[in-house]
């Protein structure tokens, strides 16, 4: 098998998407931690357009954009499939992956706000997004993929682990058992899956990292916390 490398950054949720996919399929790979404040020539060579992580390098060929990487991994290594067999269900899974990439970023907008109109707006958007997940995405299934996790669960990983950190730092509570019962249960179930449990950034360390990042960001905007 040709060599597989993953260029990522702890604790990026997008990095983790690829780690989970590789581990679920049992694909051996070399992990390379990238310092985004001092981008390596390797990253600039492999992803000249966006200069972002994650980048998967397979046999020397780079693949960028986590959603594209997930699909590539599924195409090349069909064992332990992340997509269902049925074509319609596959389309539904892909719909939710696209939703994850287009709509979930509102939680990061929330992360970058302090109290005020902007925060209220970001909160509202986030709640609408979560409502769509609860009522139309997850409904009464255990996972987005059904009985076991699939590509959509991986895509929504941010909501299971990173959102809690955002809630803590911003001081808002979005997912509660009585408002989003299925989603709330899903966040717990998702993190109990062995491969996921063993591959999550440690919460305390993550909190420290993002607290500093948030502080720095707000400082550049002249806002204190």
């Amino acid at each position: 098998m040709e060599e597989v490398k993953l260029i990522g950054t702890w604790p990026s949720p997008f990095s983790y998407r690829v780690i989970w996919a590789l581990k679920l399929k049992g694909i051996p790979y070399e992990y390379i931690e990238e310092d985004l404040s001092n981008k390596s020539p390797m990253l600039l060579q492999y992803n000249p357009l966006h200069k972002k992580i994650p980048v998967l390098v397979h046999g020397g060929k780079p693949i960028c954009e986590s959603a594209v990487i997930l699909q590539y991994i599924e195409d090349v290594w069909p064992q332990n499939p992340l997509l269902p067999n049925d074509p319609h269900e596959r389309a539904v899974a892909r719909f939710w992956v696209q939703f994850a990439d287009n709509k979930v970023p509102c939680i990061w907008r929330l992360f970058r706000t302090t109290e005020g109109d902007e925060q209220e707006e970001a909160k509202k958007e986030s709640m609408e997004m979560l409502r769509a997940l609860e009522e139309h995405g997850l409904r009464d299934k255990k996972f987005f993929g059904g009985d076991k996790i699939g590509i959509a669960d991986i895509a929504f990983g941010q909501v299971a682990h990173w959102l809690e950190m955002i809630e803590d730092l911003v001081g808002v509570k979005l997912i509660e058992a009585h408002t989003f019962p299925h989603l709330h249960a899903w966040t717990k179930n998702f993190k109990q899956v062995p491969i996921i449990k063993e591959n999550l950034p440690e919460y305390g360390e993550m909190l420290v990292y993002f607290k500093r990042a948030r502080y720095n960001f707000l400082a550049t905007r002249g806002l204190g916390i």
Partner: protein, 227 residues
């Protein structure tokens, strides 16, 4: 494969996203029923089929709905194996095409909905993307000329076509020329070839009608932001 093949497409005549699906269905030779939706007065059926986004296109195959144009295109490609493939077979080439289809995400609407400095900023984003595409084409097609006809259009051709196929109407209404043959000769040549493909020509609304729709969208947006 389903025994019966009942295909419906809910759409709106001027929507570029709907166009993508229509072109793909034409290329694959799939018969379908088109249901025109009034987007100002959305039907109960549309809201039932696409409760999350409430948008067109919605593709219904044997009663099961699918939304989001790119998701629909992939579904069509996987389900109807006859006819040309929309995505390449090789996983690495597929990944490159997928990367570019995500990249060519529609920014034109922000140009249409703004004026003055705001429009300049929005236009810059689109120019930057077209420039990167111009440069990226070398790697994408590995030096070969990308020969397209109605038989071998792929997903990227369909997406580019839906974005810039109506570029003349866009130029007239917005006063910005994105498909500039001097600045972006390769992209310009690609778009021009696409607009000449029979399957595409068939679905292009007349220039005047497109100009009217674009002007309407623009006026409404400018009024809304001024209010």
């Amino acid at each position: 494969m389903a025994k019966e093949n009942n295909v419906k497409l809910h759409g709106m005549w001027a929507s570029p996203y709907v166009k993508r699906v229509e072109i793909a269905l034409k290329i694959k030779g799939i018969p379908y029923e088109f249901v025109e939706e009034d987007l100002v007065n959305k039907s109960q059926l549309l809201l039932q089929y696409n409760p999350v986004h409430k948008k067109v296109p919605v593709f219904i195959h044997n009663g099961k709905p699918i939304s989001e144009s790119l998701v629909i295109l992939k579904y069509i490609d996987e389900t109807w194996k006859n006819g040309p493939p929309l995505l390449p077979q090789d996983p690495y080439k597929r990944a490159k095409v997928r990367f570019w289809t995500i990249f060519l995400f529609e920014n034109l609407l922000s140009v249409a909905r703004s004026e003055g400095e705001a429009q300049e900023t929005a236009s810059k984003v689109v120019f930057e993307k077209v420039k990167l595409l111009e440069e990226g084409m070398k790697d994408l097609f590995q030096g070969e000329n990308h020969h397209i006809d109605g038989e071998n259009m792929g997903i990227l051709d369909v997406v580019l076509c839906s974005l810039f196929g109506a570029h003349k109407a866009q130029e007239e209404v917005l006063g910005v020329k994105f498909i500039d043959p001097e600045k972006f000769p390769r992209v310009c040549s690609w778009v021009t070839t696409l607009t000449e493909v029979t399957a595409v020509k068939e679905f292009r609304p007349p220039h005047e009608k497109l100009v009217v729709v674009l002007q309407f969208i623009r006026q409404r947006a400018l009024q809304a932001s001024a209010a």
